[in-house]
Symmetry: C2
Subunit: 156 residues, 2 copies
């Protein structure tokens, strides 16, 4: 049975790598806390205590990760607080959502294709457009395939 300290350190370590991957600090710490928690759900107060930060920071972090689709609110009878838990499909959802940023890029590329005449730049832009379009089309199938595969071999 491993210690509480070790668990927290592993959580902080994961948060750091998520920051390295582009996520914002407090959001990363929050999602790591959810991921590593043995509780069914956490409240804003729980998080503030676990992370040692102000209520304001927690409010912002929760809004962010909820917006990303990683956590959801659940209703707990007899509690006035807002309880949140990590969604089961959080990571596949996150992967699918990257699409919104990819479509933004794609829009900008399309504008570029329209803004330059034939030539090297035009060719490069077309290539980029084609690849990102391909990714957007393929991602849902990829996720689907993962879920099927996982259903196939349910437990380790």
């Amino acid at each position: 049975m491993t210690g509480e300290t070790e668990r927290r350190e592993a959580a902080e370590q994961l948060a750091l790598t998520l920051v390295g991957a582009g996520m914002q600090r407090m959001g990363a710490r929050a999602i790591a806390a959810f991921l590593f928690s043995e509780e069914e759900s956490l409240t804003a107060g729980d998080l503030a205590q676990e992370l040692g930060v102000s209520a304001g920071s927690v409010s912002g972090a929760i809004k962010m990760v909820a917006q990303m689709g990683l956590i959801e609110r659940i209703y707990v009878a007899g509690s006035r607080r807002e309880h949140f838990r990590m969604r089961d499909n959080a990571w596949t959802t996150l992967y699918s959502r990257q699409h919104s940023v990819v479509t933004d890029v794609l829009d900008a590329v399309e504008k570029g294709v329209g803004a330059v005449g034939p030539g090297r730049a035009h060719d490069r832009l077309e290539y980029m457009r084609d690849f990102y379009t391909f990714l957007i089309n393929e991602a849902p199938m990829l996720v689907e395939r993962f879920e099927q595969q996982r259903r196939g071999e349910p437990r380790s």
Copy 2:
């Protein structure tokens, strides 16, 4: 025939969306400049002029995008300057490289799996590990598939 101003604006616009996608500002502006350039290659000086920034900034930006595998140095006879050009497979390369950050995350998750006993946290960590492992395995095939498909229908 579209104007120079329009081309620059489209480039800056794309740079901004890349920043939104997590890339650093000057690196994004540099890669956009390469993408939109009609020249075969650009030098640090060209970039400094095109972007209106200092030589120091350009040096850092070039190092960054070269490190990402998006541009490569080419040797131009009779020129003492270092010429760079965007690699043909820049975007597929970039996609494949994301793996290094994904593997970092994966390492942290592995540590987490080891650090918690059986329970909810353990299950969540395993799920996350399985999904990211799946992605890492699938990505090369995805890129391969794109390239094959593109070879099939060469030009629009």
